[in-house]
């Protein structure tokens, strides 16, 4: 360089430059066209820089020439240092891996151009430490902000007496802001951002800071309106006194606790007020302890083996079985049992208990309650007893009872109902159809209509109908029933009772027939009397004689009537009838011969035969054998004609001398010759011989009675 008459390395300054502990070099600017710096020329470089970055023998070299890749990066800083006259420090990674260099550019105002002293220092380790610290800080901040609990670091301000009176928030995380509602507290005094906060907060922090002992406390802040769970710990043990505080908003938990406490109180009140006995038992359910409620069992306060102590001997096995089963199934149990209380009274208890299961599913204990159901039980027993008595009464009274569930169709019959329908008790399952199929075909429709009408109207069902048990006698029954309805008016049940009125029906029918028959007979009789009176008239010129005859005939008819009335519906013996009629006409036994087998005559036949004998006897007294010392032979026999029994009666008179022949067809003769064939379907003949009358009466012994006679 023509401008440097003294080479640098020959001066003291050059020696000092060479001795610098740092790697150093000197550069001067080179100006291009227009006066701008175009490059930098090396003036000198000490040995240290040669070791450091291999920069040796720099004379005549330029920055661009030496570092063609990197020179452009540095041009700006060099120019800045020269222009401003201030030192520029640049930290940059070196060309070598993981090396960071701190390069200091110091401007040297020397000569017209000036120069820049460059010193280079290896800053790799410092740089790494700083990086690590920055990462740790970032992690700490992240953690700090991510915890749910509010956290702050504060510095306590004391008064002269050493009492904490205020504090400054130094740091706070996001949760702190959220929980306290203090957004801009950091770096400020509490008295500034929250002047209304209770004074015991700084007092507490002061105490903790001075004592060096961390504390945990729950505190309600009126000014914030929240419950806090606070853990405060001292940081360091001398001034400035700092405190770390963890906050948790426990409002929700506090509310829950309050609700729970309230609910527990209520439950306890309920248990105490309960008329039931509340108890707990061990997992084996052997020991019982009363926890509340009524002392139904006397003193069961302490744990006691309740089954043996309380349950009646007869119920113990059942209770034990129920409990054992529930233990195996780990399921609730329930039973009713009789217990003997301390005062010796037997009571009915209804017990229920549920198992409390632990995390492993095993029973940890039982909770349950027992209710005194003695009144209910005795009421039930009374009802059952009443029902039993009622049922017995219906059985004795031969009343058939039914209970029909209209909704389900279930039908219950009493024993008598089964019997009345012709079933063995319990032989069939009763249903509406089972009942209906036994109802007489002619009555079935009327029954259905009456039941439907009763169901519709709510009026009692009243009905009389016939039941036809297969192979049995038709029975008349009288039934009454009533429908029961639910609150919507829907029929749900029908209760009813039924009695057998067959006998009553028969008697009524019998009575009706009797009346009708009586009417018929009386009217017929009058009609017959009229006919008899008319028929008697022609044969008599003399009124007295006519009256005698008429009265005689009416008396004969009267005798038959009285015989028939004496034994209504019974037959009359022919022999008895004949002898009685002869006695009436005072026929002496030696004048007649009566002989024949026993023959039962129908009332109708008896009436005609009586009248016939009367006529014959009257005539005989007047004209024939009986009026003289003659003899009468009355004989009869029975025989079968065309498969029907017939009776054949002969009246034969024998008189010593012939009397006036009477061939006129009188009343008696017509009776025999006309009425017998007409009414009895038989034959009658009447002959008048010299020796007397010979009469032959023949007719079938049919059941030719009235409707009344043929009945029953």
């Amino acid at each position: 360089m023509a401008d440097n008459p003294h080479p640098l390395d020959q001066t003291l300054f050059a020696a000092a430059f060479q001795a610098l502990p740092h790697a150093a070099c000197l550069l001067e600017p080179m100006f291009g066209a227009g006066g701008a710096i175009s490059d930098w020329r090396y003036i000198a470089a000490n040995e240290r820089i040669g070791e450091f970055i291999g920069l040796r023998d720099v004379e005549g070299q330029t920055l661009r020439g030496r570092w063609p890749d990197m020179a452009a990066d540095w041009m700006g800083e060099f120019a800045e240092a020269l222009a401003t006259g201030a030192t520029v420090i640049v930290v940059r990674p070196g060309s070598q891996h993981d090396k960071v260099y701190e390069t200091t550019l110091t401007p040297l105002p020397f000569g017209a151009r000036g120069a820049v002293l460059v010193t280079i220092r290896d800053a790799s380790s410092e740089h790494r430490d700083r990086e690590k610290r920055r990462e740790a800080d970032a992690r700490y901040k992240l953690l700090f902000d991510s915890i749910d609990e509010g956290f702050c670091i504060l510095e306590v301000v004391f008064d002269e007496a050493g009492q904490g009176v205020d504090y400054t928030i130094l740091e706070a995380n996001r949760a702190f802001n959220a929980q306290t509602g203090l957004d801009d507290a950091v770096g400020r005094l509490r008295s500034e951002f929250r002047p209304d906060l209770e004074n015991d907060w700084p007092a507490n922090y002061g105490r903790i800071a001075l004592s060096g002992v961390s504390e945990r406390f729950e505190r309600y802040s009126n000014s914030v309106g929240r419950w806090f769970d606070v853990f405060a710990f001292p940081i360091g043990d001398q001034a400035p006194y700092r405190i770390g505080a963890l906050f948790e908003d426990v409002g929700a938990r506090k509310d829950m606790e309050a609700t729970l406490r309230h609910s527990e109180n209520r439950l306890q009140t309920l248990i105490e007020a309960s008329s039931d006995l509340i108890f707990r038992m061990n997992p084996q359910a052997t020991l019982m302890e009363q926890v509340g409620g009524d002392s139904l069992l006397g003193d069961v306060g302490e744990e006691s083996n309740w089954i043996e102590r309380l349950v009646l001997e007869s119920d113990r096995a059942m209770v034990q079985a129920v409990v054992d089963d529930a233990i195996v199934r780990r399921a609730p149990f329930q039973f009713d049992t009789r217990v003997r209380t301390d005062d010796g009274v037997v009571r009915w208890l209804s017990c229920r208990a549920i198992p409390v299961l632990g995390d492993d599913g095993a029973i940890t204990e039982w909770f349950g309650m027992a209710t005194d159901i003695t009144p209910r039980r005795s009421a039930e027993q009374q009802v059952a007893h009443g029902a039993e008595v009622l049922l017995l009464a219906t059985e004795i009274g031969k009343v058939a009872v039914w209970d029909w569930n209209v909704e389900t169709g279930d039908l219950v019959w009493s024993d008598e109902h089964f019997r009345m329908e012709g079933y063995e008790v319990g032989e069939v399952v009763p249903t509406y159809d089972r009942w209906a199929e036994r109802v007489h075909l002619e009555d079935r429709e009327a029954c259905d209509i009456k039941i439907a009408a009763a169901m519709e109207s709510g009026e009692d069902y009243v009905n009389e109908y016939r039941i036809c048990p297969p192979g049995g006698e038709v029975r008349w029954v009288s039934a009454r029933g009533r429908f029961l309805y639910d609150e919507k008016g829907k029929p749900v049940r029908m209760l009813g009772a039924m009695i057998d009125i067959t006998q009553r029906r028969r008697e009524e029918e019998w009575q009706r027939l009797l009346v009708a028959e009586l009417q018929h007979r009386v009217r017929n009789l009058i009609g017959m009397v009229r006919s008899v009176a008319r028929l008697s008239a022609p044969s008599h010129r003399n009124v007295d004689e006519y009256v005698d005859h008429l009265i005689g005939r009416l008396q004969a008819m009267g005798r038959t009537q009285s015989t028939l009335t004496r034994s209504p519906g019974r037959s009359v013996d022919l022999g008895e009838l004949v002898r009685e009629e002869l006695v009436v006409h005072a026929v002496q036994p030696d004048m007649c011969h009566v002989d024949g087998p026993e023959v039962a005559l129908s009332p109708h036949a008896a009436e005609i035969v009586t009248l016939a004998i009367h006529e014959l006897a009257t005539n005989s007294v007047k004209f024939g054998a009986l009026g003289d010392s003659g003899h009468i032979r009355i004989v009869w026999l029975t025989e079968e004609r065309d498969g029907k029994p017939w009776v054949s009666l002969r009246w034969q008179e024998t008189a010593p001398r012939g009397k006036t022949k009477n061939n006129r067809k009188g009343f008696g003769r017509r009776l025999i010759e006309e009425r017998v064939p007409y009414e009895l379907d038989g034959k009658g003949s009447f002959f008048v011989h010299d020796t007397g009358v010979l009469v032959q009466l023949e007719f079938p012994l049919s059941d030719n009675g009235s409707i009344l006679d043929s009945r029953i």
Binding site: A516, Q519, H520, G527, M528, S531, E674, R675, Y678, D703
Partner: protein, 124 residues
Amino acid sequence: MTDRLLSGCRIIILEDDYYQAHDSKNTLEDAGANVISVTATVPDLKALMADGRIDAVLIDINLGHSTSFDFARELSRNAIPFLFLTGYDVGMLPEDLVGSPYISKPADRGKIVAGLASLTASQT
């Protein structure tokens, strides 16, 4: 009985009582009727109809061991008018015969004749 109300009428009598039948026969004949049959049991109607016209039938309800209701129904089917003459009450009549002409025993002879006359009159 000079009023020959039933003159020329052919009439059947069904009556189980001999005296009543005899009486009725006389009564009707006195009124000019031609009584073509008097019977105590239900007669064979077809045979009687084959023999000639039947103007009316006088019927007793009680035929001893049976009633004459079926015979009355048979007469109805053949459009032959009939008159019940009976000792029974009117209540004895079965439902389908309620309203049939009916005279209660003991009956006045004139009443029987008049009853039958009105039947035969309404026929012609």
